[in-house]
């Protein structure tokens, strides 16, 4: 492991972007900018930005709280206010953060919402979450965008039409009222041109894991790579610049034959290539990642990096059909796919990125991912005859991260992969 970690230009750009958006949010009340709370999957940031409003993503705040070791206290506070131990910890972390003054990850206060945009895609709990928020912010208007599930493994014209109608008759009028601005299709189209470019870059970036060694880790580093499009920069020129720069850096790494960058430097020997299903644990993110890179395990694809949009199957936004594009984008997010589609997508990743194994990180409080994961695992094992592994943790509840338990399971899994490689070589 190379110990010198030099911040690459894309990392600096991303840091500046994050600082800027939280600064904008902290001064929103002074600048008169309206604030919209919404979710990452199916985040129609282009539309929000076209009204010159600022998006806030409660899951991002929750995961940031997790990484900053604050979520445990927030969750306990929410539980003291009647929330069950059994439910989604993102919700509880968010509620706890509000109880404690709604201070965001940069230490600045996150402003109260002017609009709650419940664009609920692939997660039923989102709806419950916003019912809770609606009562915590009484009087704030709620715009609901119901995203139909891809139960028939495809998007039908009826599904798209339902969503477009909701956008036209529910979401846009509320945004006009709250922002005081008229809807501008031209402005939205311009944003979507940028989104389309970004979507191309994202595919190119995550496709680089085909190389050996893979120049990136598509899970632990991948969550940083999808940051800008998932925290409010979809459709912005800044996002295009970021992804352009990131892609250049990755191409350079390929040229030099370098492996992924980790918090402790570059992985020098790629021993195992894995595809991972499920979100990561945020409360012990570094320790969790280290368990992999210490063993030379590189994640060549992950479902989690597709939670804010799936572009692998050919979908791109079409600026000429802006509202239809937003609708299809929402319906294409990973957790809005049927289980069969998930199996097909993961199977494609395992095959195309030449994975040695498939691993599930099952999250205690996320039924949207977790329910059905064991069957997905069985299907992939059967279809591809690939070794599968299973670990459990939680999103932001530190009580459910057991380091030694995960380490034991991973070590056994890696031993199995090693043994298999040996046998296959023989």
């Amino acid at each position: 492991m190379t110990k010198d970690v030099v911040k690459e230009k894309s990392m600096i750009i991303q840091k500046e972007m994050i600082t800027r958006i939280f600064k904008d949010l902290s001064t929103a009340k002074e600048t008169g900018k309206k604030v919209v709370y919404t979710f990452v999957p199916g985040n129609i940031s282009e539309l929000i930005l076209s009204f010159d409003m600022l998006p806030v993503y409660p899951e991002i705040n929750a995961l940031q709280s997790g990484m900053r070791k604050k979520s445990g206290g927030f969750i306990l506070d929410a539980e003291k206010h009647g929330h069950s131990e059994d439910v989604c910890t993102y919700v509880k972390c968010d509620v706890g953060m509000m109880i404690n003054g709604n201070i965001g990850p940069t230490g600045e206060k996150i402003p109260d919402p002017d609009l709650l945009l419940l664009s609920y895609t692939g997660c039923f709990t989102f709806m419950k979450w916003f019912e809770t928020l609606e009562r915590l912010y009484p009087g704030v208007p709620v715009a609901l965008l119901h995203t139909p599930y891809q139960e028939g493994h495809k998007i039908t014209p009826e599904m798209t039409s339902y969503m477009v109608k909701q956008l036209k008759e529910e979401v846009i009028p509320k945004m006009e009222k709250v922002s005081g601005n008229k809807y501008s299709e031209e402005k939205l189209k311009m944003q979507l041109v940028n989104s389309s470019k970004v979507e191309d870059y994202i595919i190119k970036i995550f496709d680089t894991t085909k190389h050996r060694p893979s120049p990136i880790d598509a899970y632990f580093a991948g969550v940083y790579y999808i940051g800008p499009i998932n925290i409010g920069f979809r459709g912005t020129p800044g996002a295009v610049t970021y992804y352009e720069e990131l892609y250049k850096e990755i191409l350079l790494r390929i040229e030099k034959g370098l492996g992924p960058i980790t918090p402790e430097g570059v992985i020098e020997e790629e021993r195992f290539r894995l595809v991972v299903e499920g979100p990561p644990n945020w409360t012990h993110f570094r320790e969790f990642w280290k368990l992999f890179y210490d063993m030379g395990a590189v994640i060549v694809a992950s479902s989690y990096t597709k939670v804010g949009g799936v572009y692998d199957m050919g979908f791109r936004v079409n600026p000429d059909k802006p509202l239809e594009s937003l609708a299809k984008y929402c319906m294409n997010c990973y957790t809005n796919l049927s289980l069969q589609q998930r199996v097909e997508l993961l199977s494609k990743c395992i095959t195309e990125y030449h994975a040695d194994g498939f691993l599930v990180n099952s999250i205690k409080s996320c039924n949207s991912f977790s329910a059905g994961q064991l069957m997905i695992m069985q299907q992939l094992e059967k279809q591809l005859e690939i070794p599968v592994g299973f670990i459990e943790s939680d999103l932001v509840d530190p009580r459910y991260f057991s380091y030694s338990n995960i380490k034991n399971r991973l070590e056994s899994f890696f031993q199995m992969l090693e043994q298999r490689k040996y046998i296959l070589k023989k």
Partner: protein
């Protein structure tokens, strides 16, 4: 004529017949008949009925089915019912079923639909995306297309063309079913000692697995019998039980609540049977739209329905007031996100209105009720012995 005890015994047998014998017998009498299993909470059974089908409520194995294989498909932190449903699948209980409908109530049921698809069960699997937009020309239109898909799937199996007349006939039968069920609840509200909540549960649940025509007959007989005085009133408090709408509580738990000093005068155990509040228009020119409109405009409150313009806590308190209940018991299945995420909202409303409540969790196969009995008993005593009637003054 059967006695009430005999009717209840039959209903209990039907309700927990995990082989679905009566439904399969019904199907065997006509080649165009189809069986369509559906998960909780609600589907418009009228649509299946009109297509010469029988919609069978699938409510899991309860405490009647040992789970071995089902556990292999679910992590420990996922609710119990889907694993018992898979156990029933693996053991062939649904042989002869033609299709399955999964209404959109939570992520677990949604993903269970995908598991059925991967297992290749039934000739069709339909995830029924109940609209969360309640405008007729937006959510209503989408919902109608969803229902048309169900009709198309059944048509592919039995070739039965659903006409407006057929639909209107089905609407009439289910309107009657809901009215009769409501009538029993109303009688029990006034005279809860005439029939236990567990008995009522068996009667309503039987309706999930037999033709509506037969169930209506049962309900009419029950109404006739409980209109006469029977049993002795006991010094119990009156409670509403909330949170048990999907994974069903074991009947032992319902009995425990009543044995611990409560009359359950309202509940959401089998709320699919009572989902539409009032009648669906039985005489409209477009009956499929009438079914859709009833969902949009006459649905009860529920954890699975977006409620922002119609707060569920207000509706809960109104229902409690109407039923003259003394308190609320929040009983929800472990790991049920929709029910448990509602609890802080509903319980805050109780606190604001000074309504007494208690809360506990269960799973469909919970076998020990001692702790719950003590908790409910203490709750009942605290209201009976120490509290002045708070809201309704219905204490003697």
């Amino acid at each position: 004529m059967d006695s009430l005890a005999e009717i209840i015994r039959k209903c209990e047998e039907l309700a927990f017949d995990l082989k679905f014998t009566r439904a399969k017998e019904w199907k065997s009498l006509d080649k165009t008949r189809v069986l369509v299993g559906h998960m909780p909470i609600y589907i418009p059974r009228e649509v299946v009925h009109a297509a010469n089908g029988l919609a069978i409520g699938i409510l899991g194995g309860g405490d009647k089915k040992l789970i071995i294989k089902g556990d292999a498909y679910y992590q420990s932190y996922i609710c119990h019912m889907p694993r018992s449903i898979l156990e029933l699948v693996m053991d062939g209980h649904f042989e002869g079923f033609d299709g399955f409908i999964f209404p959109s109530i939570c992520d677990v049921i949604r993903n269970l639909s995908g598991m059925f698809q991967l297992l290749g069960k039934g000739r069709f699997i339909k995830y029924l995306d109940l609209p969360q937009n309640f405008k007729r020309h937006i959510g209503g239109e989408f919902y109608k297309q969803e229902l048309q898909q169900i009709l198309e799937e059944i048509y592919k199996i039995n070739g039965v063309k659903v006409t407006p007349e057929r639909l209107r006939h089905s609407i009439l039968l289910f309107n009657k079913n809901r009215r009769l069920t409501e009538q029993i609840y109303n009688i029990r509200q006034e005279f809860p000692w005439r029939m236990t909540a567990a008995d009522l549960y068996h009667i309503v649940r039987a309706g999930y697995v037999i033709p509506v025509e037969e169930h209506n007959e049962i309900l009419e007989n029950v109404i006739r019998l409980i209109q006469e005085e029977r049993g002795d009133p006991l010094d119990k408090i009156r409670v509403m039980v909330i949170g048990a709408f999907c994974e069903q509580p074991p009947v032992g738990l319902i009995r425990t609540i009543e044995m611990a000093g409560c009359y359950i005068v309202e509940d959401d155990f089998l709320m699919g049977a009572r989902w539409i509040q009032g009648d669906i228009d039985p005489a409209g020119t477009d009956p499929l739209s009438d079914i859709c409109n009833a969902y949009l405009e006459k649905s009860t409150f529920s954890s699975s329905v977006y409620d922002v313009d119609n707060p569920k806590e207000d509706r809960m308190i109104k229902l409690m007031t109407d039923r003259k209940a003394d308190g609320i018991i929040f009983a929800a299945p472990s790991f049920c996100d929709p029910a448990l995420l509602d609890h802080p909202i509903l319980q805050k409303a109780c606190n604001d209105k000074n309504i007494r409540f208690i809360s506990f969790l269960y799973s469909e196969n919970t076998g020990q009720f001692k702790v719950i009995k003590e908790q409910v008993g203490t709750f009942s005593d605290s209201i009976k012995l120490w509290e002045e009637p708070v809201l309704f003054g219905n204490k003697e």
